[in-house]
């Protein structure tokens, strides 16, 4: 029971980071990153290979570059890898003006090509079998029991989430975040108010990619394994659904979305006793997630916690100005 709760909580932390990453890219900036999972995946692979040490010849797994770096470094490397991949793909794809659904297709295509290349080429990250035995941070030095270590990881990942949350809220509520939303609403108009839309898109894509890479690195440090099965392109759809269910451009909504979609309906059922033929519960999981998406999008298209309305306040100097007409504030009009 304790293991069930602690594992679910770690997943909650990781899927929350995932949803934040995509929420920044899609919810705030309007970039349709339908290949989101690739960024999480490269973070996981790079964190794994930089924690595993150099591959021994004749060992059971093969991979490129390999190093045995101490604790925060694999996480940092994974984060940087996500950012670097985002920079590369952003420069190729986001500098062009492409119809949004086609942009989605291109990103999807990137995800499928990546999965195929990684599965086929065992020299990269051990092919379809994936990497395993990735050491867990501090587990060697703290001598905790299995259960206690799980709870330690819960606290560790929650602490990281809190840091990311405040960082994200700060930049999203700044004038920069407002520029992101302006770009999302209308990139042509945004460029006519002086915003360099292409550069802004790439910057936000890189930050989102970094968070995605970070979430992957954290996940692989927890699970100890990572293989192409873990990152089929459908996973990007799941993260999109969490962003939609929680509410686009709302970081608190993303937490709710991450809790409801991948954790409650995606992870928890694997703890239920098996019923029917093998694989039935996994099938039902997908049916439920798809139905959840279609119903929420119908009933609450803006999500459970929609993007709020900014209520402008006059600065004190203006409020005292005698010539001011009375301020008619609009509450909620929608």
């Amino acid at each position: 029971m304790s293991a069930f709760v602690s594992i679910s909580l770690v997943y909650l932390a990781i899927y929350t980071l995932s949803a934040w990453s995509l929420n920044l890219q899609y919810g705030y900036a309007g970039i349709i990153n339908f290949g989101w999972i690739v960024f999480q995946s490269i973070g996981a692979y790079v964190a794994a290979t930089t924690a595993l040490g150099s591959p021994t010849s004749g060992g059971f797994q093969t991979y490129i570059f390999g190093a045995r770096l101490g604790f925060p470094l694999p996480l940092i490397m994974g984060t940087l890898a996500g950012a670097a991949l985002a920079l590369l793909l952003g420069l190729i794809i986001l500098t062009r003006r492409i119809r949004p659904d086609f942009q989605a297709i291109i990103m999807l295509v990137v995800a499928i090509i990546a999965a195929e290349v990684v599965s086929t080429n065992t020299a990269l990250f051990n092919g379809a079998n994936g990497l395993s035995n990735v050491p867990q941070p501090f587990n060697g030095v703290m001598h905790l029991s299995y259960n206690n270590y799980q709870w330690f990881f819960v606290a560790f990942s929650f602490a990281l989430c809190i840091i990311v949350y405040f960082g994200l809220e700060w930049i999203c509520r700044s004038s920069w975040g407002r520029a992101l939303r302006a770009m999302r609403e209308d990139d042509i108009l945004a460029s006519h108010v002086g915003i360099n839309v292409q550069a802004l898109r790439i910057v936000v894509f890189v930050i989102g990619g970094a968070i995605a890479g970070f979430s992957g690195a954290l996940l692989v440090e927890f699970l100890g394994t990572w293989s192409p099965d873990a990152w089929s392109f459908v996973e990007s759809f799941v993260v999109f659904v969490s962003v939609y269910v929680g509410g686009r451009a709302n970081n608190r909504g993303a937490i709710i979305g991450a809790f409801l979609v991948p954790v409650v309906f995606g992870t928890m059922p694997s703890f239920l006793p098996e019923f029917g033929y093998p694989g039935l519960s996994a099938n039902l999981e997908w049916l439920v997630i798809a139905a959840l998406w279609l119903t929420t999008f119908y009933l609450r298209p803006a999500g459970i916690l929609p993007e709020g309305r900014f209520i402008a306040r006059r600065t004190r100097a203006r409020e005292q100005a005698p010539v001011m007409p009375p301020i008619a504030k609009q509450g909620s009009v929608a």
């Binding site: 004038s175 302006a182 609403e185 108010v193 002086g194 292409q198 203006r318 929608a334």
Partner: protein
């Protein structure tokens, strides 16, 4: 290179034009929409661009503002060749524009949109946002400016409305204000009177006159000839991608070629 060479009427002073367009051509996949037009707008001058449907007015405007690439010719803004510059660079150099169907930020409140337009480049830089000293001060000043624009129009009650909640006339106002709030040197307007209630047209005309009086050049595409007659210092007539006449409204109205272009 940057010294603009403009054919200007002898009556004008030697001061270089604010906007100088020379031999501008625009192609859409093999179709020539604009076939080498030359025109100029001086400081404080209001120039009307008229012509029948399909004459290439909007294409010319889009090429001037940087929304479609020019396939030939040059656009010089304030002595600087901007032909190859992206729209946001032209905006930072003092070019503002409005759109035929008024554009507003649908999911931002009016206030947020206006403040974004004031902050522009500096608000969109993450680095400046993180390290920028006096960040709050800039925000406050931008807010002041937004309130002032809203107050002047008597529309401060729409500050917290989302763009998608605005009426047609309010959208026109916001679209124009997004261009005006940065005090552009050159303003390019694409049929700004469409959808504006007739009773408000004189007010809008006055606003444009006062903007021009402060030295801003205005190029305006307009179908309503009475507006052109009332507002414009000079009129440029386009037909089939070419400039067929230039002059004051009265001169243009007397021109037989212009009449033929409008009738055909």
């Amino acid at each position: 290179m940057l010294a603009p060479s403009i054919d200007r009427p002898s009556s004008m002073t030697a001061q270089p034009a604010l906007l100088a367009v020379r031999d501008l051509t625009v192609d859409y996949g093999g179709v020539r929409a604009v076939g080498g037009i030359t025109l100029h707008v001086g400081r404080g001058e209001i120039v009307g661009l008229i012509g029948p449907n399909g004459a290439g007015k909007s294409s010319a405007l889009n090429a001037i503002s940087g929304d479609v690439p020019a396939s030939g010719g040059t656009v010089v803004l304030n002595g600087r060749d901007v032909t190859r510059l992206a729209a946001y660079r032209r905006s930072r150099l003092g070019l503002g524009r409005t759109f035929q169907t008024a554009k507003v930020f649908e999911g931002l409140t009016v206030y947020e949109g206006l403040v974004t337009a004031v902050r522009g480049a500096s608000g969109a830089s993450l680095w400046q946002t993180i390290i920028g000293r006096g960040r709050r001060l800039e925000e406050e000043q931008a807010g002041e400016r937004a309130w002032r624009m809203l107050d002047q129009a008597g529309l401060d009650h729409i500050a917290d409305l989302f763009g998608r909640e605005l009426s047609g006339g309010q959208r026109r106002f916001v679209d124009l204000t997004l261009a005006l709030i940065k005090e552009p040197q050159m303003l390019v307007l694409d049929e700004p009177m469409v959808g504006v209630a007739p009773s408000l047209v004189p007010r809008l005309l006055n606003q444009l006159r006062s903007v021009a009086a402060q030295g801003t050049g205005i190029l305006i595409v307009e179908h309503a000839l009475e507006v052109v007659a009332a507002l414009c210092d000079r009129v440029v007539v386009m037909a089939a991608g070419q400039v067929i006449a230039q002059g004051t409204y009265d001169e243009i109205a007397a021109d037989t070629e212009v009449r033929r272009a409008y009738l055909s």
